[in-house]
């Protein structure tokens, strides 16, 4: 069964102004209020009885935020991050930490990180590297061998409103489990991230609101003083695919995809234009390999 979500009112960004229902006279304050109420009503209808009132968290990347409902990651909701394949685990972890950094800036409290010590994920995230994205002092790390314990821990964390965010690195998660997590997140308004392992099948069924696929991409080359591109690794680049965007624009058919770059110096994420931008004078054959 296909569920179609009527979503014409959901996005508030300027990009939606071309939709006929939204052509309104901005000068009238009464209509603005009415519109807000109307949007809230639609939201409530769309998202079930437990409509989370938690504000959404913008990723501060305008191109991505424009696609997300309410201009950011939904606050009390479950979001999934999947590495392109097992070897892209480092990049997926990097993107998870980036998202956490945005959440940590928006919300107060501790971050609960659950790590299942089994399967492909034998080691917990490495704190010295996380320090670039979030303060590891704010992270409470919980490890467990059993999937049930890990899921229980996530749920307990999500029920505690004083927690800023809950991150789970759990490989085997059933649909029912994701539904439980989603409901717990909706209730408390605590955002939940689920870092899954790469699956062989195309897409597992899940109750998550968004699902991101992260693949590492060749980094930007840096130029030396003589104009030659250097051997070292420049800005970290990831390919992001928004595989699932519940409550997003239903009219959109293609999977949104971006090439993003994380710069440690600036400490933020930015979308890189896909056209090959070659610095003036740089030899073309170097880039081609």
């Amino acid at each position: 069964m296909t569920i179609i979500f009527p979503n014409a009112f959901a996005p508030s960004s300027a990009s939606r102004d071309d939709a006929p229902v939204l052509v309104l006279d901005r000068a009238e304050p009464g209509r603005e209020d009415e519109l807000r109420r109307l949007r809230e009503t639609v939201r409530r209808i769309e998202r079930g009885s437990v409509a989370s009132t938690a504000p959404s968290i913008p990723l501060d990347v305008p191109e991505i935020d424009a696609v997300l409902p309410d201009g950011g990651l939904a606050g009390g909701a479950l979001h999934e991050i999947v590495p392109g394949d097992a070897a892209h685990d480092g990049a997926a972890l990097g993107f998870t930490a980036t998202v956490l950094g945005r959440i940590a800036a928006a919300r107060r409290g501790q971050i609960l990180w659950i790590h299942r010590q089994a399967g492909a994920l034998t080691a917990p995230p490495y704190a010295p590297a996380l320090a670039a994205f979030i303060d590891p002092a704010r992270v409470i790390l919980a490890s467990s061998r059993r999937v049930e314990d890990a899921l229980w821990t996530m749920e307990e964390g999500l029920r505690c409103g004083a927690i800023a965010a809950v991150v789970g690195e759990i490989d085997k998660v059933e649909l029912a489990a994701t539904r439980r997590l989603q409901l717990a997140a909706e209730k408390s308004g605590v955002p939940a991230l689920l870092l899954r392992v790469a699956e062989k099948k195309s897409a597992a069924i899940s109750a998550a609101v968004t699902r991101w696929r992260v693949t590492s991409a060749p980094s930007r080359s840096r130029l030396g003083a003589d104009g030659e591109s250097l051997d070292d690794i420049g800005g970290l680049r990831w390919r992001l695919d928004l595989l699932r965007n519940r409550f997003g624009d239903p009219a959109r058919t293609e999977t949104p995809s971006w090439l993003v770059e994380w710069t440690n110096e600036k400490g933020h994420l930015a979308v890189v234009s896909e056209t090959v931008s070659r610095p003036h004078g740089a030899p073309a054959q170097r880039l081609a390999g």
């Binding site: 070897a87 892209h88 685990d89 480092g90 990049a91 972890l93 990097g94 993107f95 930490a97 940590a104 800036a105 928006a106 107060r108 409290g109 501790q110 609960l112 034998t122 080691a123 917990p124 995230p125 490495y126 704190a127 010295p128 590297a129 996380l130 320090a131 670039a132 303060d135 590891p136 002092a137 704010r138 992270v139 409470i140 790390l141 919980a142 490890s143 467990s144 314990d149 229980w152 821990t153 307990e156 964390g157 505690c160 409103g161 004083a162 927690i163 800023a164 693949t215 590492s216 991409a217 060749p218 980094s219 080359s221 051997d231 070292d232 690794i233 970290l236 680049r237 994380w262 390999g289």
Partner: protein, 552 residues
């Protein structure tokens, strides 16, 4: 022993041990006693009295274990339970004892070389069974009845002093339990033999030879000559038995200061009932905490089953707590694994560790819009109001710890070490030991680090253009990675001050690792290192390459 051999109850039986040049009787049962067999006799002499004497070897070690179990079981009456293995160790100093019950398991008398027993300080415990002397009588009756039900024959006595109770339990001529009236023990112990004073064999023998056969003979004698002739011990034992010298029972386990118990008329077995009872016990205990101004760090719940076994479980908290509902939540998990067996007749909750409860609880490090506030020392804690957020987080951590284990719920702190696997240390969450921003500082002076560090570095096969060069490609887990970018090396030398590295080795050939951050054609980033002696060509067989992590 009789519990193991049910048929022994009808037979004339004895336990034997090998010492003093041959098998001797160590303990006897009721039939053997009436036949005139005594502990200490040679087995040959006993056989002349009773030719068909059933014998078995004494097992002191397992008997002591049994006594330990019994002592644990006796904690249902009082936390002050001591094992009296071989006729009493010296116990000096302590508080005044008002009443002491002595339990001697007759079969244990057999198994414990005739002297094994338990001492219970039941001061103020009688009221749980009735008022005044009646309560104490009921306690004593309850004790022997329950022991009898489990197959033990016990001789119990209760008196004002431990010494008197000991003497009465072992030497008094009677059929039933003996309860000495308050201040009436002097008259009762007077006719008992001098051995009842817990003396060594030589002293007792000397006394007998001098015609001092019973305690009553010693009572009127002046103390000074007695102590001169027989040493301090006799006089002290005499005073202890009479109550003029103090004697404390050293409990087997430290007695908890806070304790509640709940006895059931009918044994309970349903999980809901046990949970409800636990909740009631908790409520009572939290009331005690409130009065004393403390909070629990560790609670122990004991379930006394009808079959005499005890099921114990414990919970711990990160901060002292007297929050009824929170503590109950912590108990939920262990309670779900508890086995009630044939039913639970008594439950006891005791606080094994308490700490002063500070209503102004120290706040955890918490952030306001990315800016982290941090508590440093006690001076800052006073200024911060108690935060409900923190309490919530602490309680969450307690719940997680209860289920996952202490080692599995941690906060990560930097450690001063160059080696990446040693650079992180896990600390208990409750300790706000990591200063905010410390991690950023630590990360700033280190090279690039992987987002995930493999627990065990994985060996790889590499190909390099020149012997000294870093690899151009490597084979890892069956796939070939051609490298496009290489960053490094970052040289990390072995920490010679660690035990695992010998100083001689460092002096002759300093070894260490050269770390590289590399990127392959697909953009995957790895953290590789070369291990081996430094300053030698990389192609030497001594140097090996490893993958140590994945970079973002």
């Amino acid at each position: 022993m009789a519990r193991r051999h049910k048929d022994w109850l009808a037979k004339t039986a004895a336990l034997i041990g090998f010492h003093q040049g041959g098998p001797r009787i160590v303990a006897v049962n009721e039939h053997a006693r009436s036949a005139g067999i005594r502990a200490g006799q040679r087995l040959a002499d006993a056989r002349t009295l009773v030719p068909d004497l059933t014998t078995a070897h004494a097992e002191p070690a397992s008997d002591l274990k049994l006594l330990e179990t019994l002592a644990g079981w006796c904690e249902r009456y009082t936390p002050w339970v001591a094992i009296d293995p071989l006729g009493g160790a010296l116990v000096d100093s302590g508080f005044e004892i008002d009443a002491a019950a002595e339990l001697v398991d007759r079969m244990a008398t057999a198994t414990f070389g005739g002297d094994g027993g338990l001492m219970l300080d039941v001061t103020g415990c009688g009221h749980l069974f009735g008022s005044g002397i009646e309560g104490e009588r009921a306690l004593l009756a309850d004790l022997t009845a329950r022991l009898a039900r489990h197959g033990f024959t016990a001789r119990a006595a209760m008196a004002d002093t431990a010494g008197a109770a000991w003497a009465l339990a072992r030497f008094a001529e009677r059929q039933k339990d003996l309860l000495a009236p308050v201040a009436g023990h002097r008259a009762l112990i007077a006719p008992l033999p001098v051995e009842a004073l817990r003396l060594d064999a030589t002293t007792a023998e000397t006394l007998r030879r001098l015609g001092l056969r019973c305690i009553g003979d010693l009572l009127p004698m002046p103390r000074a000559p007695l102590s001169q002739r027989f040493g301090d011990l006799l006089v002290r034992r005499l005073d202890q038995a009479l109550g003029s010298a103090a004697e404390t029972i050293q409990p087997r386990l430290p007695a908890p200061a806070f304790r509640t118990r709940l006895a059931f008329a009918e044994p309970i077995g349903r999980a809901e009932d046990i949970a409800a009872a636990t909740s009631r016990l908790l409520a009572a205990l939290c009331g005690q905490f409130e009065k004393a101004g403390v909070g629990a760090r560790r609670l122990e719940l004991s379930l006394f089953r009808v079959d005499g076994s005890i099921e114990r479980t414990a919970i711990g908290t990160g901060r002292p707590s007297r929050d009824n509902t929170h503590l109950m939540k912590l108990f939920q998990e262990p309670l779900s694994h508890l086995d009630a067996g044939f039913g639970v007749e008594l439950m006891m909750l005791s606080a094994a560790a308490v700490e002063p409860f500070d209503t102004q609880q120290v706040a955890l490090a918490h952030a306001v819009g990315g800016e982290v506030m941090q508590v440093q020392g006690s001076d800052a804690s006073a200024a911060l109001p108690a935060r409900s957020d923190d309490t919530e987080v602490i309680q969450l951590v307690d719940r997680l710890t209860q289920r996952l284990g202490t080692a599995n719920v941690v906060r990560l702190a930097p450690r001063a070490s160059h080696l990446p696997e040693r650079a992180v240390i896990a600390l208990p969450v409750a300790k706000p030991a990591v200063r905010a921003g410390l991690w950023t500082k630590v990360a700033a002076y280190k090279g690039p680090r992987p987002t995930r560090l493999l627990a065990q570095p994985e060996a790889i096969q590499t190909t390099a253009q020149l012997p000294d060069d870093p690899p151009r490609q490597f084979n890892w887990r069956g796939s070939l990675h051609r490298l496009k970018r290489i960053e490094g090396p970052e040289r990390l030398v072995d920490e010679w001050w660690q035990d695992s590295v010998s100083i001689e080795k460092v002096e002759t050939a300093p070894s260490g690792r050269d770390y590289y951050r590399v990127e392959d054609e697909d953009g995957q980033r790895f953290w590789l290192y070369r291990d081996g002696p430094l300053n030698t060509p990389a192609v030497l067989p001594a140097s090996r390459w490893y993958v140590h992590g994945f970079c973002a």
